[in-house]
């Protein structure tokens, strides 16, 4: 006699309230026991209509809304938007402003990466690195608060300049922070990176090959984790990035295959070190002379008609801003489209979460480092 045991797939709903979906993402997992057969992401739980707002507000008023898009890296978002508008209006920003932008941008990149690898550790189950890293993040917040007046959403980088000037004291504090940060980062690095369990959990998990990464629009640390040496700061330099000497860490599959979760994680740790290098060089190059409001346009009444696609490197990758301007006296953009790096990176989830275990889905999600504010906009 033949016995047949029929098993059924289980549909598990992960999110929108779940500790490790990094906000309000919902994943519908079809599982066979612990093994995920299919994963369907559902977005839009934080869709805040950024693009609609852009069509109703004038150029300067949009900047605070870009803050709230990727709220972990507000400075870089401000910057990305300003680059697009400056390109549209043909504004060349003074060198002092550019230096300031580089410094705050890189500081914010570090703060963002801290959250990225901190929460990644949290997803894997290591609590302590997250909290240790948070202490450093608070120090960055102190610096940025002193420069801009706000703790998290800065509205600091304006079209044609920056909002507030800094003094020599601030530069000194920043320098001090750079020196203090290196040992602190090493501490987290030692605690987590080569931990046997951590490596077991992340190496060879969620492997994204070069071709897949490019096809699915991976950018930034995720793309570099897949072994592609590509960084807009080096390959399409904007601002002053040609002046600085820094390396681009690329994933090499040290613990497993190229493009696994561990690679994506270690890239972020290494990028923090490179960012510190850039800040230190910028602190030496900056001079406090000069007016920061020199090139800030008085009004937006004479916009050229046209369109611009400008991209820059935020901590999550290439942020592209596509602006269409009607020209003439309209001070509001006709259309703004944001190509958000996290949105594009997330689209791979459906593809690589087949046949992995539930715990791996968490690891993959953590390693891709999404910010839902930016995914849903």
């Amino acid at each position: 006699m033949e016995h047949k045991i029929e098993t059924d797939f289980m549909i598990i709903n992960m999110g929108p309230q779940h500790p490790s979906t990094h906000g309000v993402l919902r994943l519908e997992l079809k599982t066979d026991g612990e093994i995920v057969m299919a994963c369907r992401p559902f977005l839009g739980y934080l869709h805040r209509c950024f693009e609609k707002h852009c069509e109703s507000l004038d150029y300067l008023k949009i900047i605070p809304f870009t803050d709230r898009m990727d709220y972990l890296a507000s400075m870089n978002n401000n910057w990305a938007f300003c680059i697009a508008i400056e390109k549209l209006m043909g504004i060349k920003v003074s060198e002092k402003c550019e230096y300031l932008r580089v410094i705050v941008g890189e500081l914010n990149r570090i703060a963002s990466h801290i959250i990225a690898f901190g929460t990644f550790g949290l997803d894997i189950g290591a609590f302590t690195p997250f909290l240790l890293a948070f202490i450093q993040r608070e120090k960055i917040f102190d610096l940025l608060e002193e420069a801009s007046g706000a703790r998290m959403l800065y509205n600091y980088i304006w079209v044609g300049g920056v909002a507030r000037d800094v003094d020599g004291d601030w530069l000194k504090k920043t320098k001090k922070f750079c020196q203090e940060f290196k040992p602190a980062l090493d501490e987290v690095d030692e605690l987590l990176s080569l931990n046997k369990i951590f490596v077991e959990r992340t190496a060879n998990v969620g492997v994204v090959t070069k071709e897949m990464a490019i096809s699915y629009g991976f950018t930034g640390p995720n793309l570099r984790g897949s072994g592609v040496n590509w960084d807009l700061r080096k390959n399409e330099p904007y601002s002053l990035y040609t002046k600085f000497d820094f390396n681009i860490p690329v994933g090499a599959g040290e613990q497993g295959q190229v493009g696994d979760c561990w690679d994506r994680y270690i890239i972020r740790i290494r990028e923090c070190r490179e960012s510190i290098k850039i800040i230190e060089q910028a602190l030496e190059g900056i001079s406090l002379e000069g007016d920061i409001y020199e090139t800030v346009p008085k009004n937006f009444n004479k916009m050229p008609k046209g369109e611009v696609y400008a991209r820059s490197e935020t901590p999550r990758g290439e942020m592209g801003i596509y602006v269409v301007s009607e020209g003439g006296k309209a001070p509001v953009p006709y259309r703004v489209k944001v190509r958000s790096p996290a949105f594009c990176s997330l689209s791979i989830l459906e593809e690589i979460c087949k046949g992995v275990m539930i715990s791996d889905v968490i690891a993959i999600l953590g390693s891709v480092d999404i910010v839902l504010g930016e995914v849903d906009r």
Binding site: Y216, G320, Y322, R339, S347, E351
Partner: protein
């Protein structure tokens, strides 16, 4: 390759019926713009395939797909970049407003899948042969396409007030 060369190559392959025209900066009434090529919307699928797999073009990266409401027409804008050849181009496919259909590129670039879904969600532009043609950001029962210029905010959605009573009709449309 320069935009002109790309344009010529495409024209040679697909003919004038599908590849309409090339616009360079400060042409056709634009003060500032990236060079772009207007194409026939339904030709997008085969065009994308050619753009990616041709050895000289090799547009492996699809940076961005955006919808634009041109009032009379709806437009889909593709920003493409080639990481191996280091050149870029912008492709525009303009579709009629009453029945906007554009050929999908989701089979060519993985990322296009979601970007096109977003364009459908926001503009109501249909993508022919798209593998997963659903809304992405809004719920399925949401009415209208928010980023169209003539979109009127709903008063209620599932019993929740979307537009407060005192402000009904004042916002949501651009005049």
């Amino acid at each position: 390759m320069t935009p002109e060369e790309i344009f010529d190559k495409l024209k040679e392959k697909f003919g004038e019926g599908k590849i309409l025209r090339l616009t360079l900066p400060s042409q056709n009434g634009f003060d500032v713009c990236d060079p772009f090529i207007d194409v026939e919307p339904l030709a997008m699928t085969e065009l994308a395939d050619f753009l990616k797999h041709d050895k000289d073009l090799a547009f492996d990266q699809c940076c961005c797909i955006s919808g634009v409401d041109l009032k009379d027409d709806l437009q889909v804008v593709y920003h493409l970049f080639s990481m191996s050849k280091l050149h870029k181009i912008c492709i525009k496919a303009t579709a009629k407003r009453d029945n906007p259909i554009v050929g999908t590129t989701a089979h060519t670039w993985g990322v296009a899948n979601w970007l096109e879904r977003e364009t459908w969600d926001m503009f109501g532009i249909k993508f022919k042969d798209h593998p997963d043609h659903r809304r992405i950001l809004l719920e399925e029962d949401w009415e209208g396409f928010p980023l169209r210029k003539d979109y009127k905010f709903p008063r209620f959605w599932r019993g929740m007030e979307v537009t407060p009573e005192e402000e009904e009709g004042t916002y949501g449309t651009q005049d």
